[in-house]
């Protein structure tokens, strides 16, 4: 072996360990896509003005930074997503348990909710909740958006929960039963902890859908990130710059979420 050999091997291993090759190929693909979009826009004679974007992200006044409209919108988006996510998981779990219960009434109600929610467009549901449900319950725009979103995503989440619960081996139920555990403890201590481990990946997928779907609540004029973007575009015609920017922000949120969950998954994995 030459003197240079081990050095090259070490460098190669190091690059491999930090996933340099994956990152490089990913960067190439992204660059290719960018080139594609930019040349497409140029063919249309689009005049890029990226330099104007930072002023919509943040403002610098009196020696301090304040959030621009896009980041203000992001705060609203995160608030909507945060509350909706909790409600989604609650609605989903309750619906799944109702569908698995012995009561025919509970099963019917759950089924009706599930089918009517999964088989109609979210856009229509948003209008329905905003114009019909919200006045009755006397709730504001933001709450209406949260309610509509979590009802919609909750229906999908319930099927994920149900799949996870029924996937648990019959022996586990029988063991819990024979020890004299009641239903609540059987689910809490035996079934759900095992099911949650299995359904963490699809539940994360549901959270990602929720984050992206939250952009739809702009139609009922909730000033979240997409609505702010719409307003800027209407004012400035910076269509591509603004929408690409918020797309990147959505991407940043969803990718960090996926990373967080895969970290949790590794930690939860037992042996």
């Amino acid at each position: 072996m030459t003197a240079a050999g081990p050095w090259i091997a070490k460098a190669y291993n190091f690059l491999k360990r930090i996933k340099a090759f994956d990152i490089l190929s990913y960067a190439l693909i992204v660059l290719g896509l960018f080139w594609f979009v930019i040349s497409g826009a140029e063919k249309q004679g689009y005049f890029w003005q990226w330099y104007r974007i930072p002023s919509y992200l943040y403002e610098f006044e009196n020696n301090s930074f304040t959030a621009g409209p896009i980041l203000q919108g992001l705060q609203v988006t995160l608030k909507i997503v945060g509350i909706s996510l909790v409600l989604t998981y609650i609605f989903g779990l309750v619906t799944a348990l109702m569908r698995l219960s012995n009561s025919a009434g509970a099963r019917t109600v759950a089924r009706f909710y599930l089918e009517s929610t999964r088989n109609t467009p979210l856009l229509v549901q948003l209008y329905f909740v905003y114009f019909i449900v919200a006045p009755v319950l006397n709730i504001d725009r933001l709450s209406a958006a949260v309610l509509a979103l979590s009802l919609f995503e909750g229906a999908y989440a319930s099927e994920i929960y149900r799949a996870g619960i029924v996937s648990i081996n019959r022996g586990q139920w029988e063991a819990a039963y024979s020890l004299g555990l009641n239903n609540f403890n059987m689910y809490k201590d035996i079934i759900l902890p095992q099911a949650l481990r299995r359904i963490l990946p699809p539940l994360t997928g549901q959270a990602i859908s929720l984050i992206k779907d939250s952009s739809l609540v702009s139609v009922i004029a909730v000033y979240e990130m997409t609505m702010q973007a719409n307003a800027i575009v209407a004012e400035t015609f910076l269509v591509f710059e603004v929408y690409f920017t918020i797309a990147a922000v959505y991407l940043l949120i969803t990718v960090s979420l996926s990373q967080l969950v895969s970290y949790m998954e590794r930690r939860m994995k037992i042996v």
Binding site: S178, G180, N185, D189
Partner: protein, 250 residues
């Protein structure tokens, strides 16, 4: 209740029938009584209904007709009765069914904490005693999949015992084990029998039956074909079916 029988017999099973949705009659007009401290062994070919009979006793299977009374409590639609019976009857399964997301100690602690409402300290103290009894104290903080089959089954026995049941049901507790591990589980079961636990064991271990059982039931097609001591089955089985079956397993 307790009736005159209830005092002598801890389990009274009368004329129970159980069919499955596919029409298979698993248990047919089955009647038996088990005394306190008795060790009953149930043998029979596969599909003879012996496991189903066992599972009826703690309500894992619903009987179609007949009556089951355990320690004076009738097993019927009354939810309170059912819960009471599930507390009094421990069960050990062929495939152990330990909870894989909990350590050995947590497995044994669970029912004490949730059902008997004990403190963590009290539960742990009792669990460690039980684990000592089945000989696996050193694995208390391991997860079930880090244990051998024999060790897992011994933990499962400790888990069932933690409820301080009056009756223990063993559903082919050694059938899924490698031959060299069968002995360690049978030893625990024998100790239990000698301590006076009422036990019903579905098993093919005739050596075990001979050593500790008071009575052996041979079942086929959901019915009792022959009843007697283990010695009777070894020396003078009467029914042709019994002889044929014994010749296959011995």
């Amino acid at each position: 209740m307790p009736t005159k029988d209830g005092e002598n017999y801890i389990i009274v099973v009368e004329h129970i029938n159980k069919s499955f949705a596919n029409g298979v009659k698993a248990v047919v007009d089955f009647t038996t009584r088990v005394k306190r401290g008795e060790v009953l062994v149930v043998i029979g070919p596969s599909g003879s209904g012996k496991s189903t009979f066992l599972r009826c006793l703690n309500g894992l299977e619903e009987i179609d007709s007949g009556t089951i009374v355990i320690d004076g409590i009738p097993l019927n639609d009354n939810k309170k009765n059912r819960l009471e019976i599930r507390k009094e009857v421990g069960m050990v399964f062929q495939l152990f069914n330990l909870f894989p997301h909990m350590t050995v100690l947590e497995n044994v602690n669970l029912a004490q904490r949730r059902v008997r409402k004990k403190s963590r300290e009290a539960a742990t103290a009792m669990s460690m005693d039980l684990l000592k009894k089945v000989g696996i104290t050193e694995k208390a903080d391991n997860y079930p999949n880090q244990l051998s089959g024999g060790q897992q089954q011994r933990v499962a026995i400790a888990r069932a015992l933690a409820m301080m049941p009056k009756v223990m049901l063993f559903d082919e507790a050694t059938s899924a084990l490698d031959p060299e591990m069968i002995g360690e589980v049978l030893d625990v079961m024998k100790d239990l029998a000698r301590e006076g636990m009422t036990m019903i064991c579905v098993t093919h271990e005739m050596g075990f039956a001979q050593e500790v059982s008071d009575r052996v039931i041979f079942m086929e097609d959901g019915k009792i074909v022959e009843v007697g001591t283990a010695q009777h089955f070894f020396t003078a089985p009467v029914e042709e079916r019994t002889k044929l079956f014994l010749s296959q397993i011995l």
